[in-house]
């Protein structure tokens, strides 16, 4: 789901002058710490409730298991231990052995459950990212250049509109229009462009909104900057101005929300996958959440957090290298 589109000044921008190995290591250390905390946090949230999925399932009246049978099975998953012992064990298992444990629901290793969902979701998120960026670009350029009368003003409201449309609604409308009414839609094909394009567009629409918002305001800001005025006074064309000066400068603030965009894509993929019946990481997480399959949930959410943190880290580290002003500051 779309989050607020406030461009975040990367921490590194402030520190650009003291950009060195120690800083990089510290940032990486923080990210690793955050990952571990995410892992612990998910465990805490999910185990707030008493009971666990295994014992709930085993106690089904239809199953008719004896207490001993139930206890034996619980012992196998170490669910008979106190919560903190379980957490300690899970952490030890993960950190010392790189082992994410066994899915309580599928009975298979967590890694294989999750691995099954990753390609499809990456494909979806990747395609959506490209579509969202293109969409945002077209809207921004249109809003920037078209006079209000010709739709420039209306285009400026598009990000708001897109931000107001729930993913599941967009998906249903797309299914209704393209599958039911136009008959373009293939449901049983998981591979190929046609199976990807509709869910990808569904996911891309709300995600394009913050990108477009930032891009438009960055373009507006760049136009009033000194170098624009200088460039215009030098008599260069509109197109050259856009490509040489405005775009590079507007792209930078947009870069800072990449991680947020990726988070939105992953969160949104859950609903998109549900609407289109497209199994992936979102489906894995949804199933794990409803089944309280803690090991799978921990691993999947930690994975998304890792992705978020890594992208954030990369952006933070390369931002000063790209920003001409900061580059100058570093050089000085």
């Amino acid at each position: 789901m779309a989050t607020v589109a406030i461009p975040r000044r990367p921490r590194s921008a402030r520190l650009a002058g003291s950009y060195n190995a120690r800083y990089v290591i510290a940032r990486i250390g923080q990210a690793v710490l955050a990952v571990v905390l995410v892992y612990v946090l998910i465990f805490i949230i999910v185990t707030v409730l008493p009971g666990n999925p295994v014992s709930a399932r085993l106690r089904s009246p239809e199953l008719n298991y004896t207490e001993k049978q139930i206890n034996d099975l619980l012992a196998y998953y170490r669910l008979d231990r106190p919560v903190w012992a379980q957490l300690g064990y899970a952490l030890e298992r993960l950190i010392l052995h790189g082992d994410w444990g066994l899915s309580l629901d599928a009975g298979r290793p967590v890694t294989s459950v999750i691995r099954g969902g990753i390609p499809s979701t990456l494909e979806l998120a990747g395609a959506s990212f490209v579509i969202a960026a293109l969409l945002a670009f077209v809207i921004s350029i249109g809003a920037f250049y078209l006079p209000a009368k010709l739709g420039g003003g209306v285009l400026r409201t598009f990000p708001s509109l897109f931000l107001s449309m729930p993913n599941f609604l967009i998906g249903l409308v797309i299914i209704d229009v393209f599958s039911f009414n136009l008959g373009w839609f293939k449901i049983t094909t998981y591979d190929g462009l046609s199976a990807l394009i509709y869910p990808a567009v569904t996911l891309a629409i709300p995600v394009s909104a913050p990108i477009a918002q930032i891009f438009i305001s960055a373009l507006d800001a760049a136009r009033t900057e000194q170098y624009s005025t200088v460039a215009i006074s030098k008599g260069i064309g509109r197109f050259t101005l856009l490509v040489r000066h405005l775009l590079p400068n507007a792209a930078l603030p947009t870069l800072t929300i990449t991680a947020i965009i990726v988070g939105d894509l992953l969160g949104g993929s859950m609903i998109t996958e549900a609407v289109f019946g497209r199994p992936g990481l979102g489906t894995v997480i949804e199933t794990a959440a409803t089944d309280q399959d803690v090991p799978v949930l921990q691993a999947a959410v930690t994975l998304t957090a890792v992705l978020f943190l890594v992208i954030n880290l990369i952006v933070d580290l390369i931002y000063p290298l790209l920003d001409p002003r900061l580059r100058r500051a570093t050089a000085r």
Binding site: V4, S160, P166, F168, G267, A274, T304, A305
Partner: protein, 282 residues
């Protein structure tokens, strides 16, 4: 070349109508919000139908004068269900924003104001929360709390804590450095007095803007949770639930999805417009 003169002049020419257009948008947005609020407070004034009682032999009627948005599979009036659903949408979004605002303010203010070790610890916490996609976090929280609309609201609120905290922390840092805050210390104010007397009031505008924006996001996320089945059970009048129930009939009775859907989009759109107006007002 024309470039030099064109750009500023074009802007000058455009500024007036653009301004009016923005005002018009704001006006329409405010009107929509007023209607939504009225629906939420006194739904009975807007429809004579019950949102729960259906006449089964009148199921699946297309929109008409008698049933503005048609009827559903139980022969219930869809318009009545949308109107009555407004209350739950508004209330739950309020709960969500309230939680995000309260917890976020607390964390943000304390982190921003006290700085140093406190900021470092709370800053890590904010980082951790921000690293989990908000909707995923909401799903996990609602699953832990149990399925009900109120819990969905709490979950969405919890997932927005970090966003509020981040904003308020940076606002607190900004305000802390302002001259009048420093002078407040000089005239003998202690930390808490300064915090509540000076820092808090000076952050309200950006916080209000974010609150309005989050209100819209909360409506979307709570209905998305209801759509996935994590909200209240039937026969609750709830926008997300209505869309979820209507989707199985989308092929033949599309109004079951479109009517609540369009109302929801318009409401959130109006909120987003208000957010813009508030931010621009600075």
């Amino acid at each position: 070349m024309v470039a030099l003169s064109t750009v500023p002049r074009a802007r000058a020419r455009l500024s007036l109508p653009a301004l009016t257009l923005r005002n018009a948008y704001t006006l329409v947005a405010a009107l929509i919000i007023l209607v939504v609020l009225a629906w939420a407070i006194v739904p009975g004034l807007f429809t004579s139908h019950s949102p729960y009682a259906g006449i089964t032999r009148e199921q699946f009627q297309a929109p008409s004068g008698a049933h503005l948005f048609g009827t559903d599979q139980f022969g219930r009036d869809v318009f009545a269900r949308v109107v009555y659903g407004t209350r739950s949408a508004v209330l739950t979004a309020l709960v969500a924003v309230g939680i995000g605002l309260f917890a976020g303010s607390l964390i943000g203010l304390v982190a921003g104001f006290f700085g140093r070790a406190v900021d470092a610890v709370l800053g890590r916490l904010i980082d951790v929360l921000l690293a989990i996609p908000a909707f995923l976090l909401a799903v996990i929280v609602v699953v832990s709390l149990g399925f009900a609309t109120v819990n969905a609201a709490i979950a969405v609120g919890a997932s927005s804590v970090a966003v509020f905290a981040r904003l308020i922390r940076s606002e607190a840092l900004r305000v802390k450095g302002l001259p009048f805050v420093e002078s407040a210390y000089l005239v003998g104010g202690n930390k808490l007095q300064v915090l509540f007397g000076h820092v808090l009031p000076n952050t309200y505008r950006s916080v209000l803007a974010l609150g309005v924006l989050q209100f819209g996001i909360a409506i979307i996320n709570i209905s998305a949770l209801a759509f996935l089945g994590y909200g209240s059970p039937p026969p609750a009048a709830d926008w997300g639930l209505q869309v979820a129930n209507g989707k199985d009939f989308l092929y033949r009775y599309p109004w079951l999805v479109y009517a609540p859907g369009i109302v929801m989009v318009l409401t959130v759109l109006a909120l987003n417009q208000l957010n813009k107006s508030i931010s621009k007002g600075r």
